[in-house]
């Protein structure tokens, strides 16, 4: 292998690895929405210099997870309750349309793929692993858009995701909310298998309403914590 290539790979993977670690910290709640990011402390914790850390923060900023303010450093992105009210109903409408279209278009192989993702997600749920659960959860929602195959719809969804994304990590689910979400997903899977588009659409809208409620709860909790 050419030396220059081997030199490039670890450097690239370092900041990606850091970004992934920071994401996990957000999922676990070690980094909370709205928190200022202490670069020095993180450098010490991970034993890295500031350059890769800043690269990692840029990656997270492009995902909408981190806000980079000039001369003020980075902070964990935070969505306002107003934005939740504004964006989640649109998200619900987009997901419902994706679900309806997906039911009309899904092949048996498509459904098997979603079923596998669903099973894997359930395994993370049973193991109490929120990071793994969220990753699979996201893949399942994206798979509806993939199967629907409507490029413009997917593009609008992504626009919303970037703005909503931050919130997924602020929402520390209660076990009860988490169980509700899993039940929603069980119903989605059943509707997809039955190719019942109207039903899948309705479940997705309801699911997004649940998500919005969960996020608003989490935001309220953050506010009351901040007030203490």
């Amino acid at each position: 292998m050419v030396p220059s290539e081997t030199a490039l790979i670890p450097r690239r993977s370092l900041h990606h690895e850091l970004a992934s670690q920071l994401r996990d910290m957000m999922v676990r709640g070690d980094l909370k929405a709205g928190d200022k990011i202490n670069e020095q402390a993180l450098c010490q914790r991970f034993g890295v210099s500031r350059t890769p850390l800043r690269e990692a923060l840029k990656v997270l900023a492009s995902d909408g997870l981190v806000i980079l303010a000039p001369n003020r450093g980075a902070s964990v992105a935070r969505i306002s309750p107003g934005e939740v009210d504004e964006l989640f109903p649109i998200m619900g409408a987009m997901e419902a349309l994706a679900g309806e279209t997906a039911c009309a278009r899904a092949t048996d192989a498509d459904i098997a793929v979603v079923q596998a993702l669903h099973d894997e997600m359930l395994a993370f749920y049973r193991a109490g692993d929120p990071a793994g659960y969220l990753r699979l959860n996201r893949q399942i929602h994206e798979s509806f858009f993939d199967i629907a195959g409507n490029t413009s719809l997917t593009q609008l969804y992504r626009t919303l995701m970037v703005r909503i994304h931050a919130v997924r990590f602020t929402a520390q689910k209660s076990m009860e909310r988490w169980r509700e979400a899993v039940e929603d997903h069980e119903e989605m899977m059943a509707a997809l298998k039955a190719r019942d588009g109207a039903r899948l659409g309705a479940i997705l809208k309801e699911h997004l309403r649940h998500k919005a409620a969960m996020v608003l709860e989490a935001l309220n909790q953050l506010d009351s914590e901040a007030a203490e």
């Binding site: 109903p89 649109i90 279209t101």
Partner: protein, 276 residues
């Protein structure tokens, strides 16, 4: 009768920045007049848009800059500036060294974009019913009555303008800036075949009937009904009009029966594949 001009600039910021969500839904937003600008090219945008909507400039056709500058009594520079504005909206395509061509929409794009449009309108209808004041509803009713008058007198241009204002009113009343931004984004792309002059009486009558049901649902504040009506209006009648429109354009553009479609299709490649 109160008249609401179509704003030349959408009432939201294109960056998705929320400008309206802070304000409660109310009469001032619906009746506020757009800022009037007097630059020459901007005053050309509206008549050019009307020419496209009226079918004077047809999808796939080259925009005759010289004729336009004669017609409006201006030089080519402001015409070109106006064409750039319309190109940014997706109404025209500007081709290097070849000038502007009126954008075409394909059947595939209709299949892709109208369902999105329908789901956005559905949500707008739901939210509008929840937010509308009595005064808001009276304003939409007034627009509807005016639209019916235009229908009765066969004034398609004014009919379409009011039709568009009614749909936009639902989004304004919904008070969701991102939803409005998405609507404008999709509308721009299907502009070429929504709000177009329609020749088919049946389609037109169906659209008018649906609009009457919509205003009744709004007046009854029946959110689910308005939402369902808007959805079926867009996925049914509106998409039917759009399909009929592009087929007509396609048929008009097709060579005489003696000539096969193939050589012609090559020439139309840039403006969208419509040979099916």
């Amino acid at each position: 009768m109160i008249d609401f001009p179509i704003p030349a600039v959408p009432a939201y910021s294109s960056t998705g920045k929320r400008t309206g969500s802070q304000k409660p839904p109310g009469k001032d937003r619906m009746s506020s007049a757009p800022i009037v600008r007097h630059s020459l090219h901007e005053s050309l945008v509206a008549p050019l848009r009307e020419m496209i909507l009226q079918g004077e400039l047809r999808p796939g056709e080259k925009v005759p800059e010289e004729q336009l500058s004669e017609r409006f009594g201006v030089s080519r520079t402001p015409i070109r500036e106006a064409l750039k504005v319309l190109a940014a909206e997706g109404v025209l395509q500007i081709l290097p060294h070849r000038g502007a061509i009126v954008a075409r929409i394909t059947e595939e794009q209709i299949e892709e974009l109208f369902p999105i449009m329908a789901s956005l309108e559905r949500l707008a209808g739901l939210l509008a019913c929840q937010n509308a004041t009595d005064a808001d509803i009276a304003r939409v009713r007034a627009l509807h009555e005016r639209m019916l008058e235009c229908y009765a007198s066969g004034d398609e241009i004014e009919y379409l303008r009011h039709n568009r204002l009614i749909h936009e009113a639902f989004f304004t009343l919904a008070g969701n800036a991102t939803l409005s931004a998405f609507y404008q984004q999709i509308l721009t792309r299907i502009h070429a075949c929504r709000f177009v002059v329609r020749k088919n009486r049946e389609h037109w009558q169906a659209a008018v009937d649906e609009h009457t049901q919509m205003i009744e649902a709004l007046e009854a504040r029946d959110a689910m009904r308005l939402a369902a009506l808007l959805e079926t209006h867009v996925t049914g009648t509106t998409v039917g009009i759009a399909r009929a429109f592009i087929r007509r354009i396609d048929a008009d553009a097709a060579p005489t029966e003696a000539a096969p479609a193939k050589p012609r299709a090559r020439g139309r490649r840039l403006s969208g594949v419509l040979t099916d």
